[in-house]
């Protein structure tokens, strides 16, 4: 097991010390960051502080210096977003800050994506995400998407006000194995259940795993509707997606 002092970045050490309180997460992250090269931790740092121009420049430099794209993504970009998710969950940072971090991650991913797809490297899984019919709340869903992408998933974002037919159409079109539905209104929450029923009617229910979330949704409600999993926040959404897709870090 690594120690905090093994992490070759003052910035990351200070962030971990200040913001990560859960022992299990702390130990896991220390082990992880201790094994990452200093120049990649600089990329993480740029993401955690929401500096998109730096993330862009540092990613290009790392690639030009010969670091493999997958390593830049894992050790730099994904590593950064992991800490961002935890800081948000614990209310150390809020939505505007997370948006800035996600923008920085995107600035780096722009350079990684084409290399990965050219070399045929598969994402963890392909996920369809959307807010259900009648509901236009999308902030929480978008944060989930950012962290899912940050964790190595390919996400197709259908947007808001998505009907059962659109969810089904997207699963078929993209051969996705995971569906995530978000709802913030009690008036629209039942549409999650209707969508699940539509998957059954279309004979597709066994082909996909379905996860649900959003402020009024509860684990009980999720189970009642026949969803495979419920996630309380964006960090949990990633954990749930990994579990459903059968992949671990």
């Amino acid at each position: 097991m690594a120690e905090l002092t093994d992490i070759p970045s003052d910035f990351i050490r200070a962030e971990l010390d200040e913001f990560v309180e859960r022992e299990d997460e702390r130990a896991e992250l220390i082990d992880f960051y201790a094994a990452v090269a200093p120049h990649l931790l600089e990329i993480s740092a740029s993401i955690i502080s929401g500096r998109n121009h730096d993330a862009d420049r540092l990613t290009l430099e790392a690639l030009a210096g010969g670091t493999p794209a997958l390593e830049v993504m894992d050790g730099g970009l994904i590593a950064g977003m992991a800490l961002v998710g935890i800081k948000f969950r614990e209310n150390f940072i809020f939505v505007p800050e997370v948006l800035a971090c996600a923008r920085a991650m995107k600035a780096g991913m722009v350079h990684i994506d084409p290399i990965l797809s050219a070399s045929g490297i598969e994402p963890l899984a392909r996920v369809i995400m959307g807010t259900v019919k009648g509901d236009l709340h999308d902030i929480g869903k978008n944060l989930c998407i950012m962290l899912l992408r940050g964790a190595g998933f390919e996400v197709i974002d259908l947007g808001v006000d998505i009907s059962a037919d659109d969810f089904i159409g997207a699963v078929e079109e993209h051969s996705a194995s995971l569906v995530g539905m978000s709802a913030l209104l009690t008036t629209t929450m039942p549409n999650m259940g209707h969508t699940i029923e539509a998957f059954i009617d279309a004979d597709l229910r066994d082909d996909v795993k379905i996860m649900v979330g959003g402020a009024p949704v509860t684990p009980e409600f999720a189970e009642e509707m026949g969803a495979d999993a419920y996630g309380d926040n964006a960090v949990e959404c990633v954990e749930v997606a990994k579990r459903l897709a059968g992949v671990g870090r």
Binding site: V95, L136, L185
Partner: protein
Amino acid sequence: MTSRGRVMAALAGSAVDRTPVCNPTSVATVELMDLVDANFPDANRDGEKMARLAATSYTELGFDSVMPVFTIIQESSALGCEIQWEAKDNWPTVRMARPIWQTAEDVRMPSDFLLHPDITCVLDAIRRLRREFGDEVAIIGKTMGPWTLGYHVFGVEPFLLMSIDDPGHTKLCLERMKEITIAFGQAQIDAGADALTVPDHATGDLVSGEYYREFLRDLHTELVDEIPIPLILHICGRTVDRMDYIAETGLAAFHYDSKNDPAESMAIVTDRIALIGNINNPQTLFARGPEDVAGEVIRNLEAGVPLVGPECAIPLQTAIENLKEIPLAVQRWHADQARKGPVRADDQ
């Protein structure tokens, strides 16, 4: 005391005969729509139906106020945002993925803003309610605050990113949008509104308490200076971390959410601002029965919250029985208190 007298006194921090029941956001439900044959979406666009549905909170539920503006998008529609009006069983919204403005230079109130049908229907509804009820019941209008208008016209994510990238420019946008808040508010005053709700969703679910202080505290104080009737700020979600700032603005009232404890909230704001709330919508009013509703009413009364009501726009499928329980529970509690007699110092 009349219902109106009670609400206005509580908003002014004066004595009342009993705690008024008030929802300054929306009390429309599908059952109420059926009862008076005034359905969404028409009741959001036609002044006569709007007034008819709004009146039910006084005539059917026994609340002390009426609120004809069920949505938060009337002015966004008049500004040119694309609106999805929805059907009877859902609220309308702005399609925020297609924002109409990008910078402060774009912020402009159309010259015929107050003549737009989605604005005039509100003014018409307020006039009708005033004619029908005179001084009996408090008529509360609603004018959106610049922060929420910002979500609608710039899109939520671009607006929040702007607030990080260029706080100065964001403040300029807010300053300009404030004029829209004032114009619609003033028109409702002219039509006969007694007080105005100003929803401005700088909630702890989205932004920090310091954000409220930096971007909105002074702006809300300016609204108080420029609008001559009591203003009720509405922010849902967690807000205890910013209640101290909110109490400094001079706003008459703050409509607060059940994510905040009544006693803790009262301890922060003291008598600087009147709290209104905070009966939980999705778990209690929507999903439980009258007994649980009464429990939350009493928690507020015991904490000394001066106006009691649901935390936010109530779910459209809420049972009337649960809503009627709010004024009943308030009356029972006051009767109990009266029976117990005034608390003497040596009782404690």
